[in-house]
């Protein structure tokens, strides 16, 4: 694909300053997404996945600073944009499906009204047109359009998540970030919604970023997978490559921590130790204190990128091959 990627993130570094020092939540992250592509970001909680999402929308709390890097949206760097300009990018160009569908709808307004509100912030359309558009969005996500005039508490969990997806689609953005879109739902509803999202994405030729700690979800929906550990992407590549021949020891241990339904019975792998404190991350490779393959060099030098085709990992002792 020679056309410009929808989103290119280069060396993005974001810290939260707290009393004890700087929390290095996102550290030198680089990736890009083509039109129509789905990127999955997977990692333990606290690895910086959601921080990346919030940084992309520039919705960070006051104590967060973007120290380095670029966020190129269709070639335009949005990091230096003023708050007023940034407002035009939000939802119109990048929208988001929030983690907690339960809480991301305002309880005192009708759901339809909250979608119309987003439309009105970006499009100059009459109210009737907006309502019509919401009806069509409800159709797309398989919700009864009669629910438009209902309040959030009158929706079930799955319905609410669908409404949130409809809301994210409202302005036909180039990129949708889905932060744990189905974590709070039961497995059957989760499966339905993931399938629907996948088909809507293909239909509208949109780009997506899925964020989840659930490898199974990521495997199902994404074309490209990035594995995050302690604020860094440690492995990035095509979904099949990453899951079938992981390079990084962390990816391997994540995989072995999940049971396989079809594979033979085995002891599930557990990872000893805890994710590092991002106030004072370990020198060298941040994974080395927990890594079974760690050598001396891991503890004092940044690991190099090991490439295998379009698939790379940052590791001194790459696995597989």
């Amino acid at each position: 694909m020679s056309e410009r990627p929808v989103l290119a993130v280069e060396d993005l570094t974001m810290h939260y300053s707290i009393k004890a020092g700087a929390v290095r939540a996102v550290d030198g992250v680089t990736f890009s997404i083509e039109r129509g592509q789905a990127l999955g970001l997977v990692g333990e909680s606290g690895s910086g996945k959601s921080s990346i999402a919030m940084t992309l929308l520039r919705l960070l709390p006051d104590n967060a600073q973007i120290l380095r890097g670029k966020i190129l949206l269709d070639g335009v760097d949005i990091v230096p944009l003023s708050e007023e300009r940034m407002r035009e990018y939000r939802w119109n160009r990048i929208s988001m499906i929030f983690q907690a569908a339960m809480n991301s709808l305002n309880p005192v307004y009708k759901v339809g009204e909250q979608i119309i509100e987003a439309l009105e912030a970006h499009l100059e359309s009459a109210r009737e047109e907006s309502i019509e558009r919401v009806r069509r969005l409800y159709d797309v996500v398989n919700l009864d359009p009669g629910l438009i005039v209902r309040y959030p508490h009158e929706y079930s969990g799955g319905m609410r998540q669908r409404a949130i997806i409809a809301m994210a689609l409202a302005c036909e953005p180039d990129l949708i970030i889905a932060d744990e879109p189905t974590t709070a739902l039961d497995v059957i509803v989760q499966d339905h919604i993931l399938r629907e999202m996948r088909s809507i994405q293909a239909e509208l030729d949109m780009s997506m970023i899925y964020i989840s700690h659930d490898m199974a979800v990521i495997a199902e929906v994404s074309d490209v997978v990035g594995v995050m550990y302690a604020g860094k992407i440690v492995e990035l590549g095509g979904t099949a490559d990453v899951f079938h021949s992981p390079i990084h020891p962390y990816t391997r241990s994540l995989m072995s921590a999940f049971p396989s339904v079809t594979g033979k019975k085995r002891e599930l792998g557990t990872l000893t130790g805890e994710p590092p404190n991002l106030l004072d991350p370990p020198e060298g490779c941040r994974f080395h204190p927990r890594c079974p393959y760690a050598t001396d060099v891991c503890s004092n030098q940044e690991p190099p990128k090991v490439r295998r085709g379009n698939h790379w990992a940052a590791c001194w002792n790459p696995q597989g091959e």
Binding site: N106, V108, A118, A121
Partner: protein, 382 residues
Amino acid sequence: MARYLIKRTLQILLTLFIFLSIVFFLVNAQPGDISHVYSLNPDLPPETRAKLQDLFGVNEPLWKQYLVYVKNTLTGNFGVSFSLYPRTVADVIGERLPRTLVLFLTATVLSFYLGFALGKIVAWRRGGWVEYGSTIGSVTLYTVFTPWFALMMIWLFAFRAGWLPIGKFLDPVEWREAPTSANAVFNQMIITMIVLSVAIFAVFLFTTRKRVAGARLIQAGSIVLTAAVVAGVWIASGVAHLAWDIVEHMILPVGTLTLISFGGAMLLTRNSMLETMREDYVTAARAKGLPEKQVRDRHVARNALLPVVTSFVFSLAFAVDGGIIIESVFSWPGMGQTLISAATTEDLPLAVGAFVFVGIFVLVAHLAADVLYVYLDPRIRY
């Protein structure tokens, strides 16, 4: 909803009955009885004393007295005031209650409106001198010793500057040749106030609900227009200067009360805002690219309003028993003064009657709050 209202009304009647009983037995638990006010007079011959006791019914067993009391109260008979004899308790309260209500309702509404508006802004712009200044200011006002503060206000604005009258409800000199009574003028003023606020509220509701273009202009215009009409009607009535005299007497107590209770409303709004700002739907509203003002007013402030409304209803209770301190300092002839003078002159029927009215008002205010909540929070359904 209708079923709920009926249920609540029955509940209120039950609560009121319990309240009445407690008031009655508390009063009777006091040493002596109400006839002592007369019967302790040494000039009174014993036969007259016995006759008086028969007349008051205090020789009857307590349960009989209680039944008579309940029956009388239910038929709206609150008895006769001793200290203001021969006026009935209902008549005295009918005169004093509106005075207290107007004074305290105005101050309560004003302080919550200002407190909410300022608390909203302070919470939104955290840090900086605006937050520190207004927080320190409102904590000071919230905790200040009320009589001292009220006296300072009188000293400053009435005594030193001489802009406002020092106290009381009206200036007798102005009223000497008055064609009507103060109560008549005051009742007309109350009606005017109600009509005015209903009209303005209707315009605001209509313009914001229907998203009328130029809503601000229409709202401002309607305020000016209704104010002009009201002023015109009053001037034509010929008692405008008398009404103005009452207004002048109200300014200082209302201002003092507003300042005292405004701090609490502001701090409450601020805390409620800060809590609501952490909600996911606020982040979502921002992510949608809504303007900051819309996020603040439509999403944060709208939800932060709920606890403030609760607190507003509780402070309405004070609107009836009416801050005895404030009424005493400003010599305002309202319920607070009535209660205290009834207590000191052992005018027990009046004291009991005043308590009953306070009870009724508080219970009705809570019912109104419950109904209001349905409109403010769609999750609440009865």
